[in-house]
Symmetry: C2
Subunit: 344 residues, 2 copies
């Protein structure tokens, strides 16, 4: 695997195991800042070959530089599944690169759609912490590399939707309560009506695999970074409250049905010999809900994260150490998941 | 429970745990002989009040007499689920009675559709053994009680389909191989074309719950008892061979799919909190198949029989010690099944 060994070896990003605020609903928070070099063509028109090494020289020593052209397709796919790079960067192998810190909670994509995309992640609902870290990285780089900036518009970006702050704040949330009580669609409508975007992580609408959704800001212009993060945080507090109300309702009114659902899913993960990604992510969502509601107490949040990651194709390929046919993939998924649940 | 305690206490009939011939396919063999008293109205027109005590006096001391009028509805239902009495006798409580031996493999129903219905059961394919025991009991009774007999027709019975030998020979078979490879319907057609009856034990056709079927003779007239039993036995040897061919095919060509099916069913039985009879019998059938094919080796035939019996409503009611609502029944079924599988 060459240079990537150090980053790719830890299976789970260590920050994922930490407990964040409101972790029962919010799996993680992410802030991403897009910036472009002044007086240099934007990557969408031309990449900057020297930029990766230049930025590496600016950042702390614990950032490791990985050039897309040095990584195998599998290695790049693993970084996507860990949310450390975007699918866009993965397929852009000329001068595309990423800097990732040891904790794997900060990364700087270079020559993606914009010259720089600084990204910080936190467990739970901690958008302000993520923003603070991202702004710090941004200011460090800005000291050495002037950014394209327009006094009226703000920071300039390749895609017009990012112009202004260049900020995208997002949370990854687990909303089984809203989905199972059929209140998700109404909630999604309300979220959209105040200018945020909701989308399924592995599918659209309430059919999203594993009841996991990403909620992010749409507007990057006309608000400060702090206002964007504050608005999303406040809106999320409403979502979290509603999700908890639905879960309590499920637990109180449908306790045995809920328990049945959770334990059937456990039985499936624990014993099946063939598992599709759809089946496993939905079953993991049930375990996750069961864990949060105290219906299924034998599992940790870390195991849940591990189960989710190993349900995905690249992690599975890595575990198998080989490419797989479709049936093999399902068989290996079932086998890896049984291993993870061995003592559960 | 009064008089019935002794018979009703052993949960499983002890003979069920014995290995019979071809037990991988044939769960049990049964022979039933219908007889009526000479010069007495047949029960369908009038029951014989004194007959129960009279027959008890003839049989061995280990036969216990149980009058339907002395038994609760639950106790009668348990006897039906153990196949010791017919549903017809269960609901006929005036002078209906049954004599059952300690091993629970012989019973004599009295004042059922006929005055006497002698019934002997054996594990596996052992119709001749069952016939021999039934004929012995019949001869013992005949020494004391003359039977209605017509030199041209043979023994007379309430229902014309039983006239002649009054014999019904039947086997209970587990045919998952034929069903799963979609060859059951053709086989059932072939069985019917040579004068036998095939019916699902808990449903009709290939939708029979748990892939369990009863195959029996239709003709009781114009053949000797031995001929009937010989014909059914020979036909069964064909069915057994075909079922084994299908199972081997499943194991060789679809091994991982078969294993997945068996272990998913195990996971369901082991972890579900709500189980319908349909779900549990179908899942037990998969475990049963897995056991016979060496795919699932952690279970015994005795456990399989226990699981089947406790999936049924009366056994469940007995385990619960109370009457149940529909949801409660499914919850208690799941709980009892988990208990049975505790160490599996």
């Amino acid at each position: 695997m060459g240079k990537a060994n150090k980053i790719l070896l830890p299976i789970l990003s260590s920050w994922l195991d930490l407990d964040g605020d409101d972790s029962d609903v919010v799996m993680s928070s992410r802030v991403r800042i897009a910036r472009n070099l002044e007086a240099v063509k934007f990557p969408i028109a031309g990449e900057d070959e020297l930029l990766p090494e230049r930025v590496k020289g600016i950042l702390d020593a614990d950032y490791m530089l990985m050039k897309m052209s040095d990584l195998s397709l599998l290695e790049r796919a693993l970084l996507v599944e860990k949310h450390l790079i975007s699918p866009y960067l993965m397929n852009k192998s000329k001068f595309g690169a990423v800097l990732i810190n040891e904790a794997e909670n900060s990364s700087v994509m270079i020559n993606e759609e914009d010259h720089l995309r600084i990204q910080c992640m936190e467990p739970g609902l901690r958008l302000f912490d993520a923003l603070e870290r991202a702004m710090y990285i941004e200011s460090e780089i800005e000291n050495e590399v002037p950014f394209a900036f327009n006094p009226e518009l703000g920071f300039l970006t390749s895609c017009v939707t990012n112009v202004g702050t260049g900020l995208r704040a997002s949370v990854m949330v687990h909303l089984p309560g809203l989905v199972l009580t059929k209140r998700f669609n109404k909630m999604a409508e309300a979220i959209r009506s105040v200018g945020f975007v909701v989308r399924g992580i592995y599918g659209e609408g309430s059919n999203s695999l594993g009841h996991i959704f990403q909620i992010s800001n749409q507007v990057t212009l006309g608000k400060t970074e702090e206002e964007i993060v504050m608005d999303l945080t406040q809106m999320m507090e409403q979502v979290i409250m509603q999700e908890r109300v639905c879960r309590t309702h499920l637990k109180q009114k449908f306790h045995i049905t809920l328990e049945d659902r959770v334990f059937r899913s456990f039985g499936l993960l624990k014993h099946a010999r063939i598992l599709t990604m759809l089946e496993s992510l939905n079953a993991i969502s049930d375990l996750h809900l069961g864990m949060e509601l105290g219906v299924f107490e034998h599992i940790t949040r870390q195991k849940i994260n591990e189960l989710i990651l190993f349900s995905k194709p690249a992690f599975l390929r890595r575990a198998a150490g080989q490419d797989m046919l479709e049936l093999e993939e399902k068989v290996i998924r079932a086998s890896v998941i049984r291993d993870i649940l061995q003592d559960v």
